[in-house]
Amino acid sequence: MIKGTIKVDTDRCKGCNLCAVACPKKIITLSETVNRMGYHYAQQSDNDACTGCAACGIMCPDGCITVFRERL
């Protein structure tokens, strides 16, 4: 089984939500709190469903998302 996870550079994220739209599992949401620029940043809401497909990372205009994958 392959498990993915993402790490968001929350300081640089502008909350455009394009990663959430691109995510096939729909497990990226915008945070309730804001970062230092005042944007609601992207975060992974489900730690188990991510497959590490990297669609979010590819669509992130600002290159804020790093995608990891591990074989369990």
């Binding site: 990372g57 590819i58 992130c60 290159g63």
Partner: protein, 248 residues
């Protein structure tokens, strides 16, 4: 744990000044990725336009020159003639390339300069506040045509990419978009092809990227991508117009 995707090394850590969800930042990232994969960052020269991408030199860690408004292809021609072994490309928006710099663009392409031209078409002047651009669609509302673009008053949208395909100096002309993962992959391939053509001195390459301006269109980034797919893509269909000097 294996890293599947990360920000390209050549994309600097500074926060880009672009609005959230802007196509410019995504294309900057693709340019950085392609340059990194080709391993040519030491002999790549980019020419910045005037427009939203005016600060591109802050974001991609290669050599850049800031050209006067619309004059990027002329500037790139000079650099490429002086340094024939360098990869020289311009990065321009629709106002810069298709309006103020139409003459420079068409002449440089027609001379067959060995440069790559990346053209971001968002159908609006983004930086100055969303005025009508040559590529604005019929009926599209902007701050300078608040009732929508009308043919009798404003003329018709300029198909600069189709014009580029008719010029004998161009070897590769394509139109791509960055609204979903598949199109991003195609755009990246197109940019790589254009850069390779510049290095191989095959003639001018022209990559149009149909993009969005969520702030200028007054939409969310998600709505802007949808509006682009519904309205711009029928008018500016995606695909290669010319490959290896052969019109498609």
């Amino acid at each position: 744990m294996e890293t599947v995707y990360k920000k390209p090394r050549l994309l600097n850590d500074v926060t880009m000044h672009y609005c959230p969800g802007c196509g410019h930042s995504l294309v900057h990232k693709l340019v950085a990725e392609v340059l990194e994969e080709m391993g040519v960052e030491e002999r790549a020269v980019g020419i910045c336009p005037v427009g939203c991408a005016v600060f591109a030199y802050r974001y991609v860690d290669i050599d850049w020159i800031e050209a006067a408004h619309g004059r990027a292809p002329a500037c790139a021609s000079a650099v490429k003639r002086l340094w024939p072994d360098h990869l020289v490309f311009t990065y321009q928006g629709d106002g810069d390339l298709a309006c103020i710099g139409t003459g420079e663009t068409i002449q440089a392409l027609n001379r067959g300069e060995n440069i790559a031209v990346i053209f971001i078409n968002n159908a609006i002047y983004g930086m100055t506040g969303g005025q009508m651009a040559p590529t604005t669609l019929m009926g599209q509302k902007t701050s300078t045509c608040p009732y929508g673009r009308q043919a009798d008053l404003h003329g018709f949208p300029l198909h600069i990419t189709d014009i580029a395909a008719t010029l004998e100096g161009t070897c590769y002309v394509t139109r791509q978009a960055v609204n979903n993962v598949a199109n991003v992959a195609r755009t990246k391939r197109a940019i790589r092809q254009a850069f390779q053509n510049s290095l191989d001195r095959k003639g001018a390459s022209f990559v149009e990227v149909v993009s969005t301006c969520s702030a200028g269109w007054k939409m969310t980034p998600e709505q802007a991508n949808q509006w682009m797919a519904d309205n711009m893509l029928p008018y500016y269909p995606l695909g290669d117009l010319k490959v290896n000097g052969e019109k498609k």
